[in-house]
């Protein structure tokens, strides 16, 4: 049994030590894997706010991941082809600047989360799950038929976008950027979970009637949580697109939604570090099991099944011996 706090510190430590080792051992692929893990962790932290704290079982978070990705893809595509994104009513050019891309990714995915959330929150329970899944599929098919931006084939970006003062083409520098964002998002989520909003949202998950009775609107709390959640996952999508220098409708697929949820479940739902541990574990599994067998998803499925049936606390719960989340 390891105390959860140590386990969390250990996890962050791995995010520092492994890339550091990879840098000295000249293993750029390991750095790329760790970048992938950091980005997945950010995406899953986003979902954790909606699902872990707010209790919203969203199977459509690929929407925000994809929107982040396409925000990057479309802006960078126009920048690399020297075409305007829009000429009317104002001239909008593409950009290769990460901060601007991130801002657009966050804004557009928040907006999408607001619309999808407002519609989906008219219902609850299984309906919510089915509706979020359906909206994910809507974006998937929309991008497939969106010939202007590559349709089914997606968009390739030749050179990774830039960040002031960094050489993002160097794997370790891009990793550092993603890691810093991961830490900031973790800090934000930690503060959020302790904040008045966090308390109210937490209660809205457990006892919505109580929240209503003390004079607050549980649906509005959940909607705001869904928007924050979508924005963070959208940011992760933009980073993921930049990691691969490629976006395609796959980012919107239901499998992507499922995977984001798996990161969260592997680590432990509702725990601050759950998504981080889960994303790291997923990338490790993908790498090792994927190397052993082409059919590694079978093993992933079995592992997931075992966690659901026998160990709800995820890996953190197993290691710390505490199934339930409380502090």
């Amino acid at each position: 049994m390891i105390r959860e706090t140590y386990l969390n510190a250990l996890t962050l430590g791995l995010f520092v030590l492994i890339p550091a080792w990879a840098l000295f051992a000249d293993e750029p692929f390991t750095i790329t894997l760790m970048t992938r893990a950091a980005i997945f962790a950010i995406a899953a932290i986003g979902l954790n706010i909606a699902l872990g704290i707010g209790g919203l079982v969203s199977l459509g978070h690929a929407v925000f991941f994809g929107i982040g990705g396409y925000a990057m893809g479309i802006l960078a595509y126009h920048a690399q082809t020297y075409t305007a994104l829009a000429e009317w009513p104002v001239l909008i050019d593409g950009t290769k600047s990460m901060p601007i891309i991130w801002l657009v990714a966050v804004l557009v995915s928040s907006l999408a989360a607001l619309v999808i959330g407002a519609l989906s929150l008219r219902t609850a329970g299984v309906y919510f799950i089915m509706i979020t899944l359906a909206f994910g599929q809507m974006f998937f098919f929309f991008t497939i038929s969106w010939a202007e931006y590559g349709g089914e084939d997606g968009l390739s970006i030749y050179v990774r976008n830039g960040f002031p003062g960094l050489n993002t083409l160097a794997p370790i520098q891009f990793y550092g950027l993603c890691f810093v964002i991961l830490c900031l998002v973790l800090l934000f989520t930690w503060r959020l979970s302790k904040s008045p909003f966090g308390l109210a949202l937490n209660a809205a998950r457990q006892a919505p009637v109580r929240v209503e009775t003390v004079g607050l609107d549980p649906t509005r709390l959940k909607l705001v949580a869904f928007v924050i959640s979508g924005a963070i996952t959208g940011l992760a999508g933009a980073l993921f697109a930049d990691l691969n220098r490629f976006v395609s409708p796959t980012m919107f697929s239901w499998q992507t939604s499922g995977e984001i949820m798996i990161f969260l479940i592997l680590g432990g739902v509702g725990r601050l570090y759950g998504p981080v541990v889960g994303a790291l574990a997923f990338v490790a599994l993908e790498h090792w099991l994927g190397g052993l067998s082409d059919y590694w998803h079978i093993y992933l499925g079995i592992l997931l099944l075992l966690i659901v049936l026998f160990g709800r606390g995820g890996l953190i719960g197993l290691a710390s011996g505490k199934e339930a989340v409380h502090d």
Binding site: P196, A207, R210, V211
Partner: protein, 249 residues
Amino acid sequence: MTDPVLQTRDICKSFGALRASRNISLDLKVGEIHAIIGPNGAGKTTLIGQICGTLKPDSGAVYLRGEDVTGLATRERAQLGLGRTFQISSLAMEDTVLQNAVLGALGATANPWRFWGDVLKDKDLRTRAEEALHRVGLQDHALTRTAELSHGQRRQLEVAVALTKQPRAFVMDEPMAGMGSEGSKRLTGFLDELRAEAPILLVEHDMDAVFALADRISVLVYGEVIATGTVEEIRADAAVREAYLGEDA
């Protein structure tokens, strides 16, 4: 005599063929405890639902401090000063006792839109919550997880959460249910004092508590108020004896 704090006028509610509320007119005056009694299935829960805003009456109106609140949601009625406790505890079970109480205080501010500061370090909210816990005698359990509380303690916490809002009127749905005689006695004493602060509409099965506390009693049978009066009047009422107390005794 001032106007009633809480009032229902001719409210009716049917579920299909079942008429759960028939022209119910009740009021709750400053400083009183008004008990609602009646056999199971008499429509007490339906009545409370309409007063608190979880159910909408088919006709009739509910007034809170003179204002027609019939069309308002539960949370809006709460903001106007209606405090409610539930028959089946409705608390955030994974949270601590203190967190539940702080939630009540947060509700009173109507502003949960702060995303950064630690809510438990908010002096104002914390003071209010701790005062309320102290008043119901849960101060030593502030850091206990609500799920670990006994049945009776959860009832006390229900009352404490309602207290944090300093409501103008309380609606309490069987606060004594499942309490031991000791706890029941303590809560009786507490409610006795509380009425001076805000009047209480009390739905209760514990007749000892009702007769000890109530200034007035209304008897609800088959969705209809068959009698309203003081303890003595109700004890003496023939219709009540026949319809209700007779069966019970």
